[in-house]
């Protein structure tokens, strides 16, 4: 791959005090594409995302290579990292209810990205914030700008989060379960907005999710993680031809509209999946 945005080689993460690694030997490269990471809870997918932003002070992160554009993420100081986070690499979190500051107006929280990273005046930041709120299809951005998070709906909150994270025009966005707190109809709207912005701006996107339908429809490539390891890497459209029994098990466990009503297949977890070589 030419000019990858992110190169990860043999990433291992161990939480302090834990007997085993939470993430073991994860390697991937990311270009200007949409990469999905799927797996069950506890498989280490969110831990990978957090490690990239160096948000794991209580864990030991080791890797042969952890390169983001021209930066070696392993050796950056915290001061340098502050200039990367939110500016060149940002993260959209799962639940707007818990990730927005409840006692600050929405607009101020969004504008903070600009004021923090760019030499702009408050009035310019306000104009840009309103533009961004409009870009995530919030009707009447002037009104929403001055609301508090408890006054807006979940779908709108998630769009505010997206606006906040895309405002600085980052090169890499990590979306950690961006829509699992939302209803189906709202979920599609939010995903389409995110998808459009990512395409238009040529941003690299890592979509962390446990929802196979989501990654199938909104990603180019998919990593499937089990117990801290990548067990399979697939093109999203080839999901139905997955080889690994874990991936096939996940797909079979999903009820489908128009499917049979026979009991759903239940995963038969085998210990050797934890050890076998990556494909």
């Amino acid at each position: 791959m030419e000019n990858p945005i992110l190169e990860v080689k043999n990433l291992c993460i161990r939480y302090n005090g834990a007997p085993t690694d939470a993430v073991r030997d994860v390697s991937f490269t990311l270009g200007r594409e949409r990469l999905g990471i799927v797996g069950e809870s506890g498989s280490g997918k969110s831990t990978v995302g957090r490690a990239l932003l160096r948000l794991l002070p209580s864990a030991q992160v080791t890797a042969e290579k952890l390169r983001f554009e021209d930066l070696d993420l392993l050796n950056l100081s915290e001061a340098q990292m502050l200039k990367v986070r939110g500016r060149r690499m940002s993260m959209i979190l799962q639940d707007p209810k818990f990730s927005l500051n409840p006692i600050q107006r929405v607009g101020h929280q969004v504008a903070e990205t600009l004021l923090r990273h760019f030499p702009v005046s408050k009035s310019d930041a306000r104009v840009k914030t309103l533009e961004m709120l409009a870009a995530v299809k919030i009707r009447d951005p002037e009104r929403v700008h001055d609301l508090y998070p408890h006054e807006i709906s979940g779908g709108m909150g998630q769009r505010v989060m997206i606006a906040m994270m895309l405002l600085a025009d980052p090169d890499l966005v990590i979306a950690d379960e961006p829509t699992s707190a939302l209803d189906v109809t709202v979920r599609l709207q939010v995903l389409n907005i995110l998808d459009g912005l990512v395409r238009d701006r040529g941003i690299g996107l890592i979509m962390i999710s446990h929802d196979l339908n989501l990654v199938r429809n909104f990603c180019d490539r998919v990593l499937i993680m089990y117990a801290g390891r990548v067990v399979e890497t697939l093109n999203a459209r080839d999901m139905d031809h997955a080889q690994h029994p874990y991936t096939r098990g996940l797909l079979a466990a999903q009820p489908r509209i128009g499917g049979s009503r026979a009991p759903l297949a239940v995963l038969d977890r085998r210990p050797e999946w934890k050890e076998e070589a990556r494909t």
Binding site: V184, T185, P255, G258
Partner: protein, 253 residues
């Protein structure tokens, strides 16, 4: 044991005076004995409120709810608990963190003065596919799927006829969801339970339910058979939109 559920003009407002908000303007539907009935709709549409009213967890509603032909308001509390039980959405929130599984399961037996407690508790755990040793575990020693099984065991232990399921799998992974859905389907087949199931996942409705109601702003827009999902046989614009979005999300268009 099995029972029907009939709901007529169920209506409820929250708040007082001019600030009162009518959450359910008048919901009516009926569920046949042994049927699995789904309630779908966006958040805030009143799905869970219907369950809370039927179970009398919220009791200041008007209208009429009959279970097995008995008006739920006339059924004394103790009998009501043996008629219907509820399984909540989040097993991380619905189990007391300092109570062992044994304490959770023994309490209803003690209140209702039932004998053979140990045997009943063992049977309830076996029914939901957990080993009997789990009686002495605490919630933090259980995974999400195991917790939800304990919550289902708690609902089963008084042998009710109607189970109210409030998004029983939305906090769980797809693989664990499959286990819980299989369990619920098996229990219904074996015991003839009547289910009213709130969910936002139409694939789950299609897998589990016989009929379902689409709710919007507290009103039922349309009651549809399960077969209406795959071909989008809804007529109401919102129901059509919801089904279309679900089909699109599944990548079936």
């Amino acid at each position: 044991m099995t029972a029907s559920v009939a709901i007529q003009d169920l209506s409820i407002s929250f708040g007082h005076g001019p600030d009162a908000v009518k959450v359910l303007p008048g919901v009516s539907f009926s569920v046949k004995p042994g049927e699995c009935f789904g309630l779908v709709g966006e958040s805030g549409s009143g799905k869970s409120t219907v369950l809370r009213c039927v179970s009398m967890l919220t009791d200041f509603w008007t209208g009429k709810v009959e279970i097995g032909g008995r008006n739920v308001r006339d059924v004394p509390l103790k009998d009501r608990c043996r008629l219907l039980q509820m399984v909540f959405q989040d097993p991380y929130g619905s189990l007391h963190p300092r109570q062992s599984v044994r304490t959770v399961l023994a309490e209803p037996l003690r209140i209702h003065g039932l004998d053979d407690r140990e045997a009943r508790m063992r049977r309830a755990l076996t029914d939901v596919g957990l080993p009997v040793e789990f009686l002495d575990r605490f919630p933090h020693q259980l995974s999400g799927g195991q917790r939800q099984r304990v919550a289902i065991a708690r609902a089963l232990i008084l042998e009710p006829a109607v189970l109210l399921l409030d998004e029983p799998t939305s906090a769980l992974d797809v693989s664990v969801q499959a286990e819980i859905l299989n369990l619920l389907a098996r229990l219904r087949e074996e015991r003839g339970f009547t289910y009213i199931m709130v969910t936002h996942d139409l694939a789950v409705v299609d897998h589990m339910c016989d009929r379902f109601a689409v709710m919007l702003h507290g009103e039922i827009t349309e009651i549809l058979p399960r077969e209406a999902i795959a071909g989008n046989g809804a007529t109401h614009p919102y129901a059509r939109q919801l089904i279309a979005a679900s089909l699109e999300y599944e990548g079936q268009i």
